[in-house]
Every structure is written in C-alpha cells, then in structure tokens.
Homo-oligomer: 226 residues x 2
Amino acid sequence: MSARILVVDDEPDLLELVRFNLTQAGFQVTTATSGREGLEQLKNAAPDLVVLDLMLPDVSGNDICRQIRSDPSLAELPILMLTAKSEEVDRVVGFELGADDYVAKPFSPRELTLRVRAVLRRRAGPPAAGSIIEHGALRVDPDRHRCFVEGEEIELTAKEFRLLSTLMAKPGRVMTRERLLDEVWGSEITVTSRTIDTHLKRLREKLGPAGDLIETVRGVGYRFAE
Amino acid sequence: MSARILVVDDEPDLLELVRFNLTQAGFQVTTATSGREGLEQLKNAAPDLVVLDLMLPDVSGNDICRQIRSDPSLAELPILMLTAKSEEVDRVVGFELGADDYVAKPFSPRELTLRVRAVLRRRAGPPAAGSIIEHGALRVDPDRHRCFVEGEEIELTAKEFRLLSTLMAKPGRVMTRERLLDEVWGSEITVTSRTIDTHLKRLREKLGPAGDLIETVRGVGYRFAE
DNA sequence: GCCCCCCGTCACGAGCCCGTCACAAAACCA
DNA sequence: TGGTTTTGTGACGGGCTCGTGACGGGGGGC
C-alpha cells in the first residue's frame, strides 16, 4: 500500500532527516549514500520514487537521472531532485534531466512530504492518459515538463511552469498571491508578492492568445478560466 | 484575528528587534528571555506560533522543541527556529525535532515576517471549505469568487463580494454596521460606517431585482432576506 | 572571460475601486 | 404636519492595484 522511496544523499545528517520525515509520513524508505550504491539498489528492487541529491561525490545526480531515464525498465520512475541552489532547477526539471519535480534546499520536512505525495499522485493517475492537464488550446504535461498551445510547444522556465501548473490544477478557482507563493516558491519565500505579477506577465506573453485563460481577479488573486 | 506569537531569545537586542518587526507586521507578540520562562508562558497561554532561538543558556531550543511536541495540547503548535549558524547540522536537528521552518541568523526582518506568515498559513490549512452559498435567485461561489443572479454572472469588486458573502452567510440575521466593518474590512478600521451604505447601494444596483434581498433594518443594520 | 538566461526588484502609468461629502428622500416621533 | 434622524444616491478625487518595461545580479554554458 504505502509507496517505497529510495533516498540518495551523501550527507548522513540530511539523509537521516529525509528518511525520518518520510518514514513518519508513512512511506517505506531505503537509503543510499552514494550514486553507485543508489544505482545498485535501483537494479535490485525498483522503488516507487527516488529522492535524489543533485550533488553527489561519485556519480552525480545528473548521471543517475540520465541513466534512470535511459533504462527502459526504469524510465517511468518518478524522480524528485534536491538542489542546493534554486538556479539549477531549470536544467533539472527541463528536457535535459527529466526530473519530475525539485525541492530547493533548505527545505522544510513538510514541503518535501507534500511534493513527494504530489508526484506520486500525478504518476498514479490513469496510465494511458498520463497526468496531462488540458484546457482549451492549452496542454500541460507535468511529467515531461512540457507545454503546448494549439499543438505548438512553448518553452517555459521552471517557475513559469510551476505557476501555470498550479493555476491549471484547479480551473476556475481563485488563487491568492499568498497561496501561489506557498505552492510555487515553497519554503524559499523570500520574494515580494509582486514578483508573481512579473512572472505572470511573462507567462501570458509566452502563451500568446491562450494567455487570456489566466484571469486577474482584482484585489483577490488570479484564476485559470474554466 | 491577528495571530499571537511567543518569541524566546536570550539576547535582549535581538529579542527587541524581532518583537518590533512582528508587532509592526500586525502580530500580537509576547516575549521570554530564557527557555524556562518560555515554557512557563506556553503553559499559561498558548500562542499561535513560537519563534525559538536554538541557542539558549538554560534549556536549549531543542529541549523546548521536544517538550512542545511531546505535550498533546501543544503538539500542533507551529515552531519557527532561529539558528546562529546556517550549517546543515543545526537545520537537521531543528527539523528533526519538529520545527516547521527555520531562519538562519543574520536574517532580514522581512524574511522573518514572510516565514512566520508562511508557517501560519500552512498550519491554517485550506481557507475554509468553500461551499457555494445559494438563496433564491442568488448564488455566490467564494472559491471561484463568482456571483450569479438567475444563472447570469454579476461582476463584483472585492469589497462588494465580501460584503455580500458576509450577509448571505447568516440569512435573516441582522448585521450591524460595526459587525460588517469587522468582518469585511477586518483590522483596518479606518473607515466611516457610512461607507457601508455606499457599497451596499452599488451592490444592490448590480444585483438588479435580487438587490431587494438585502433589507435595511433602520437604526440597526442590514439583513439578508430569508 | 564573455554572453545569455532566469529571476527578482523597481519605477512609472493607467484604470478603477473605494471612501467621503453633500444633498435628497424616507422613516420615525411628536 | 413639521422637525429630526437615518438612509439612499450621485458625484468626485485620491489612492490602491495591477500591467509593463527596464535594470542588475548571479549562475551556467561556451
């Protein structure tokens, strides 16, 4: 019933922290302290999700990510990346590496648990249809980190993508700026709420005509059209 | 309305700094200069959140953390840790013991306030079960921030919407102007009670025939028809 | 080292929401 | 019926909110 999670990190303290919290949250957790060890375990018994530190001494998180994605039996395995700097996230969740989501250090245990659950939930969806969210001419594929407008791919940055996904997850429902800060920025909330405006402007710009689907509710927040 | 926060720190300067900024941000702040004193206050009157220095002379922040978490009546109390060093170890220890977030010294007042708010927000959970309120031809959907009269959408401003929602929440019950000021305007009571009249006029206007559902109770206030 | 991209901030401007005022209307009281 | 109090209403100015363009910093790729 409960999902099995492999955590790979070379720092014993951090590893223990993650293990402790995910166990508390009801997951079956196994650990590895190096990339090599992690890959070994993956071959023996594939878990339902991998939490992977980007910075590892021997095999980097990048390499592991790539190896997982290129192995047919593991290609669909959800990956949650731990990154030291939030600037790295573009590569991580972009085309290059194909992680499902990321959590920037330092993170709170609660946030980690939430994101693990979110990724598992997405993956657990109807296997054929995947977890693609589609509204009007807009199509978003969280697993692949891709976005299409009328079939044409739009390249979004990590923040833009999360912002759009969050809004589209509950169509018609107003999200306050505070709420968006929680969901998109997570624990790294050192930004003005006005920052959202800027990202939204860029997002609308990139989406072109479909940008109108994101509605402004003055004095309240933003809403994705139903 | 505004959350109560207990700040525990042995450094008077820092304590004052935190107290000042959180007070400015609209919180009710109480302070303690030692772990023992902090625990004492916790037992007397539990706040909504504790800001806790990890390094305290008598009882360490860790111990307080542990004691809070092991006390059933306090187990859910959000804790924000202040750590002197941003090293991983502090973070790990704090989190493992159940702190909700941490702020590394030196920190900016803004960051502290932001994190306090974020923790409180997360603990508060989703802002009420947004059930649709419906009476007669009028339908109000707080989640979507939408209002319909006989199926046709009426565009309301933020204040108008809150005013209508408040009145509709208790149909048949008279709301005094003071009450409405509290509920709709909240802490910013810098408004004449006559302002309500104007908003109500505009609201009735927009609602058209359904505007009659808002009844005036002379000398008392307003009431939504049953 | 250089350039590019992403991100966060700021300043400016437009639009409109909001609050107030003054006056009209209505209700209450004698 | 007249005076008083309370509420409705129209108009107006200020200020808040949001959109937008520009800028700088920081990191990675080349």
